[in-house]
Symmetry: C3
């Protein structure tokens, strides 16, 4: 029996009827079975591709991408996922469009979706705004579909909002699952999601939020560490707390990086902006207060600079479980003496983990493809079997 | 018998041999049968797609898009149409190319067309220039094909020029046909194509021109209304006059929005720039007279501001046939108190017509696809039947 | 027997096992058989396409393009080639990505390549940098593939570096072969690769370098002509010298355009920057010396202006073999009184050769496709036969 067949059999046991035609905003919207299904389909699609079997489910159709912030890896991951399933990516570049001329989100959403099957949106710049934009966009598509404007209702893949970054956290976790030899080995493992210094400022909170919102669901001991003033959104902390309580794990907080690293199995040191400051920034932008924004940035950089000691050094790594914790990062990292003078991680640590870090990133296209697949395929287990049986070569061999 | 089969039978009766390998510049270049064929194929392609039947006619090949003005809906409509037929869109972004460095249109046309099957061009900014650019481009491809440089002669879809906007007016009209229950119900209906106030200036004349050039062909009573000074191109008025005479309809002009709306079945209130001013602007640009352009813009905005009363209000709507005229717009509209203080339409009117407006826009991808289909398929009726018979699923079902 | 079948038979006789999964940097890395294979496959792919036979080898997969300089024709040639083989182009636009934020080339290379089959890079702006960038990029992919990060190792097509421009020179030469009636007719022909005046400065050296590095391999008499100070890279001259010695041709240099043109069968008059100045410019950029760069540009333009007499005039053309030498150019050319006052070529000469020039350019998509094909197909002769046998229509006929 092939790996894909086994994975399809596993899929059959999961209750995942709710995923068909559904959007993906946040991992904590989803049941355990639904998350399991995503990991399962991601592995199956990878298995099929590695065996040169086409997984095209669409003969034609568009995947619309909207990046309201710069992006390389997420952009290429989304493009790869769409291509893998047979969709052509069309990027809605707001600079080329008339959106700046006062078009409402509602209208744009319908106008770009007449032949779209999936929408991928990254909007992480402003607290209280990113998710709202995605929700407004998808509500408009609900309405458009109900009223017969759209022949099909495209589904959302959240490519990062102000609250969650599910394609990232799920790719991170699938990497962990593969490194630890199975989801059953997550229980009891200590995860240190910690702030780290970066000479830049204003990095999104959705990465740490995504990690504590997801990793607390598997009975792991999740520690969130950051200097005072670098709190994340309280509602996501609440999600993490509830998850931990439900799965026999824990969610704790500390202001000490050393405490978080102590005996950790997994470390994720990463810079982010303070939530309160990001709220303030959103307000200043809304008011168009350029002077206020400049002043805030200066203040935040000064605040940041007081915490240059929050760096993932060799010394700290030695304090982790057997000195061999799995180091995670969403990339690109700020590496000491490489991309900056002082940064998130010592160059020797980063270099040692380069291969696993790149492997971690390699799961993202498959996680996105699995999210699309499960939203677009009514009977995913049957479809995986059909694709294997069909056996179309992805790369023709003579 | 399926809807597509019926439409294919209708197609067989039309004299449309001239469409194969032909360009689409203006609707008034085309015979009645040819316009009929476009509506027919658009409906058939939509029927097939709604029944999950692939309409890919191309296994590979490029659709080249050239947008010399910002665009969202036309860009996505063209991309959707190409994708539906199996062509991959490649956008010629003049900022990324060497065109600015003195390449002639003739050369560029050939250089991007070696594997292109269709060319979509939007060039509506300058009176006397848009059509000329398209013609120069396509003449170069004629020459390239004749001389054996190109293996195939790509065909043009005019995505808007300074004279006509055929994909817009035909999508508008197909919407009207569906709303009225058939092309046979157009005769005698009153259409008010009227100017409306917008706080911006310089909107293309090709929308009203396209509408009066097309809608006069079906025996409708077309009224063109605008303040003094907002004349459209006289040669297009002449086209409208001749059309009306030939089909037993009428084409009249007025300087009163109220008169145009009175008992109208269809209203299309929309801002555009005065033709004479646009001619002047083209000259100023040619001379590189930045000061002159600024002065002209200021003058035009002041001129515009005298006509803030040209707005599609509830009061005006009440004067239309039974107070229920079909409201049309190419979108985005300038909506009072939404996208601007004073605009083309009252918010309550726009809101009431939002769903039909979006449906109107939904025909554009199919109109473009039909134009490509008819230029690329020798026997369109046979091809529709073949596609249905082939029955390839667009979206694979397990 | 079809043309493709004959070409496939010829291919079977060539020793080209080394091409499978290999990169294409410079023509002088490749054996004579390997270059022959590229011309052969290019002709076969063209024959199949002309007979409406699909040459899609990939069902899905990405072709990544990276243009670190503006480009129209190479961009569209790469897109056409990828589309012809079934790959979807994803452009890595550094302005949209986080590359500017300190990402290393190594990391980016892996991040964009998870589902990529081919990488096309143009990086010709800085002497000593373009090739280095490509090599660093591809070395990273070697590492990524070896370490299991990538499921497949994408292969490189050099779309122009500081040293060679192989897709250009091979398209040029395939054009010459077709014009002369076969590769066997190249021997003894005189080729004048000469500098010509242009009002711009800093054009890449890789075009003349590519030409002298390639055309010396076929027993031709290659003359490189330029004013003093416009030397090309000495290591490429050395390549040309060795090639000529090995094939019974010659490679000579002169400072006289007239001498080069005398009795030439082929002329290639084209502006380029002086090597020494380009080295200096690379250093100034590295130092961020904006003043120095400006001063250098001014100096170079003044230096250029002393050589306005280096122009391909009718008088010079008359001195070539029977006054009918084949005129080559990579386009766009600087044409006297058309794109500039004084340029590389007289308008009447350019006009007379317009059709062959455009044909010359038409080979580039096929050369690129052949490079990809040979790097991706294990048994290219068998694959050509399989594609012909499969007989999938590129453009469906009803």
């Amino acid at each position: 029996m092939s790996k894909t067949e086994k994975l399809a059999q596993h899929l059959e046991k999961l209750k995942i009827n709710g995923m068909y035609r559904d959007d993906f905003y946040w991992t904590w919207d989803k049941t355990d079975d639904e998350l399991d299904a995503i990991f399962t389909v991601a592995d199956a699609l990878r298995d099929l591709r590695e065996r040169n079997i086409s997984t095209k489910v669409f003969d034609s159709g568009l995947g619309i991408s909207i990046f309201r912030d710069n992006s390389t890896r997420t952009r290429f991951s989304f493009a790869s996922a769409c291509n893998l399933l047979g969709l052509e990516v069309q990027d809605l570049d707001e600079k080329k469009s008339q959106i700046a001329h006062g078009e409402t989100v509602r209208e744009t959403a319908n106008m770009v979706s007449f032949m779209a099957d999936v929408i991928g949106i990254r909007d992480d710049m402003f607290i209280e705004e990113g998710h709202k934009y995605q929700k407004t966009f998808m509500d408009a598509l609900d309405e458009g579909y109900e009223k017969g404007i759209l022949e099909q209702r495209p589904t959302l893949v959240n490519l990062q909002c102000d609250v969650d970054h599910p394609t990232q956290s799920m790719a991170d976790l699938l990497h962990v699952i593969h490194e630890l030899g199975g989801v059953e080995n997550l229980k009891g493992k200590k995860v240190a999601m910690t702030w780290a210094y970066s000479p830049s400022y204003g990095k999104p909170l959705s990465v740490p939020q995504g990690v504590i919102g997801l990793m607390t669901r598997f009975g792991m001991e999740v520690v969130l560490a950051h200097p005072e003033g670098y709190e994340v959104m309280p509602e996501v902390e609440e999600v993490a707390r509830k998850n931990a309580a439900a799965t026999g794990g824990s969610f704790t907080k500390t202001h000490s990086m050393a405490e978080a690293f102590k005996d950790a199995d997994i470390v994720y040191p990463k810079s982010w902006a303070p939530f309160a400051a990001m709220e303030k920034r959103t307000d200043l932008y809304a008011q168009g207060d350029a002077e206020g924004i400049k002043a805030l940035e200066k203040e935040l950089l000064a605040q940041n600079a007081q915490h240059k000691d929050w760096c993932c050094t060799e010394e700290l790594m030695k304090t982790t479980r057997e000195g061999k914790a799995l180091y995670l990062h969403c990339l690109p990292a700020d590496i000491n003496d490489v991309s900056c003078l002082d940064g998130e991680v010592a160059a020797s640590v980063f270099d040692r983990y380069r291969t696993p870090l790149y492997k971690e990133a390699s799961f993202k296209p498959y996680i996105i493809a699995a999210m699309i697949f499960l939203a677009k395929v009514k009977d995913p287990a049957a479809m995986l079997k059909l694709l294997e049986e069909r056996g179309t070569q992805r790369w023709l061999q003579a």
